[in-house]
Amino acid sequence: MSGVLVVFEPANRISYETVAAAQELGSALGIPVSAAIPGSDSTGDLASKKLEKIYTIDHPALKMYTPDGFTAALEQLIRHASPQYVLFPHTYQVRDYAPKLATRFNQVLVSDTISFRVEGGAVILVRQLFQGKLNADVRPGGDGPYFVSLQAGAFRADKAIAADTPAPVEAFSANLDASKVRSKPEEPFRESQRAVDLNAADVIVSVGRGIREKENIALVAALAQAMGAELAASRPICDNGWLPMERQVGSSGQTVSPKLYLAVGISGAIQHLVGMKGAKTIVAINKDANAPIFEVADYGIVGDLFEVVPALVEEIKKAKG
């Protein structure tokens, strides 16, 4: 058992972050890095990256994603290629099948990993606990293979090393029985076109759970208005119907990178952070000094938003004259 295998998801850009992480791990351990693309007969852009080999796994039963199909195909490939580490981007799709795949090997997917280090030839993985309030160093065990998924944004896609010559491609033929695939997926769909394009906004004022009640949203809306900003929100606010879904920032909403992102009463769960950490300047107002939002904030006020926000509105009006 040797080498690192990246399971590549072409539709998701964070897959290149996984390639970069795998190259880093491979070089730290002195072992080769390969990649697998289930459900595809082409390597696309991946061939331009420095890899020992690229496995394509094309089969009618993989045309549409199912956990049964992907698990069976990857189980066969892993038994064939015998990697020590299998790395995935932590996408919704990976969350759906990778734990099942790891179980087939009596292993546990170390999910949502943010970094790793090598200690005496062994790899220690770092992942978040309590929605980012604490980190844990974990050690995989048993003979392997070790299954690891990597959090979006934890590694840099532009660090992926390019190949001098394209990697050899092996078309792996998986032995799959379509009748064994139990779930029947239908075509994906979108509910409605987005009317609000948060990406066009220079300044975004965003509100989270700390606002407590629907009636209080007006307070933050007044701040947005005073600043000439778009109003946005974290997921719980939109789930409650306090603001429309199209104003949601985060992994299930929009990804924004404005000049200024002002987060009010948002603790900063990773699902939210991935949607806004690209902002040029981030300001956080939160009562909890340990809230993960302060990990990414340039400026902050630790305090009661019900006092701070009205004071801000007043000061902004003064500053504008």
């Binding site: 956990p67 996408t91 919704y92 799709q93 969350r95 759906d96 990778a98 734990p99 179980t103 087939r104 292993q107 546990v108 997917l109 999910s111 949502d112 220690i124 992942r127 978040q128 606990l129 309590f130 980012g132 309030k133 604490l134 980190n135 844990a136 160093d137 974990v138 050690r139 995989p140 065990g141 139990r182 779930s183 029947k184 997926p185 239908e186 994906p188 769909f189 979108r190 509910e191 600043m227 719980p236 789930d239 992994s251 299930s252 300047t281 956080a284 993960p292 302060f294 990990e295 990414v296 904030a297 340039d298 400026y299 902050g300 006020i301 305090g303 701070v308 004071a311 801000l312 000061e315």
Partner: protein, 256 residues
């Protein structure tokens, strides 16, 4: 339809967390606990399925003796009975070990459907439901927004990334992990709280289930995250802090 809903007890959302002496978990003696929020939505989905299709809702929880409080709350909201796998140190077990316990307890019940939250707010592995399905040999789907029961099967709406959704149909029995926030959570009524007192909580242990508590993945230590950015905090009264922030936004960030 018999629905098992797997719930977990976790520290309350706003808890101030302190790392314990061994550095492998948090100091839990002074914390208050509550149901893991995604599991509260799984419980709600289970109760709604029962209201629509009849049958039974069984709450299943693996956790310390203190988790009984969270189980009682589930019963007060309308679960018919509960299974409590009582073990004190499950936080040191990996997901496969815990899923084995839960799957073993489920197998004896022969449920039509097993629901749980998409992830826990403490460990956040986000995979217990999926691993249970694999251990039980039944199909699963994750991040579920809606469940529609059909004859011998279910059709679910699952969330994909970036505002996309998909319907998937699968035979029963099956495991679903429920997305948070998909419906309004009910409160326990006074009548519900009263009734919960006489509802059955069956206590089990790992030993009785014949499942060894062995983990492959081990936690070396837990620690506070290193800050990547230096945050400049503005202090003083709300008015003073606001004035300092506005000055910064006006003269340095230049957005006012």
């Amino acid at each position: 339809m018999k629905v098992i809903v797997a719930i977990k007890q976790v520290p309350a959302r706003d808890s101030q967390l302190r790392i314990d002496g061994a550095g492998k978990w948090i100091e839990s003696s002074d914390l208050t606990f509550e149901i893991n929020e995604p599991d509260a939505y799984a419980l709600e989905a289970a109760l709604q399925l029962k209201e629509k299709n009849g049958g039974e809702v069984v709450a299943l929880c693996a956790g310390p003796a203190g988790a009984a409080q969270t189980i009682r709350e589930a019963l007060a909201k309308g679960a018919d009975r509960a299974l409590h796998i009582e073990e004190e140190k499950l936080y040191s077990c990996d997901t496969l070990a815990v899923a084995r316990l839960l799957a073993k307890a489920c197998a004896a019940e022969n449920p039509d459907l097993i629901l749980t939250g998409l992830q826990s707010d403490d460990l956040g592995y986000g995979q217990t439901g999926v691993v249970m399905a694999e251990l039980l040999g039944v199909p699963h789907a994750t991040l579920i927004m809606e469940v529609e029961k059909k004859d011998g099967s279910i059709r679910v709406k699952r969330e994909l990334e970036d505002g996309w959704f998909q319907h998937v149909e699968m035979p029963l029995p099956a495991v679903l992990t429920i997305q948070s926030g998909i419906s309004k959570l009910r409160y326990a009524t006074l009548m519900g709280i009263k009734k919960a007192k006489s509802k059955e909580i069956k206590r089990l242990t790992a030993g009785e289930l014949g499942v060894p508590l062995q983990s492959t993945v081990t936690v070396e230590k837990i620690h506070a995250p290193q800050k990547n950015k230096q945050t400049q905090l503005f202090e003083g009264s709300a008015k003073e802090a606001a004035a300092k922030l506005v000055e910064k936004l006006k003269f340095e960030v230049r957005v006012i």
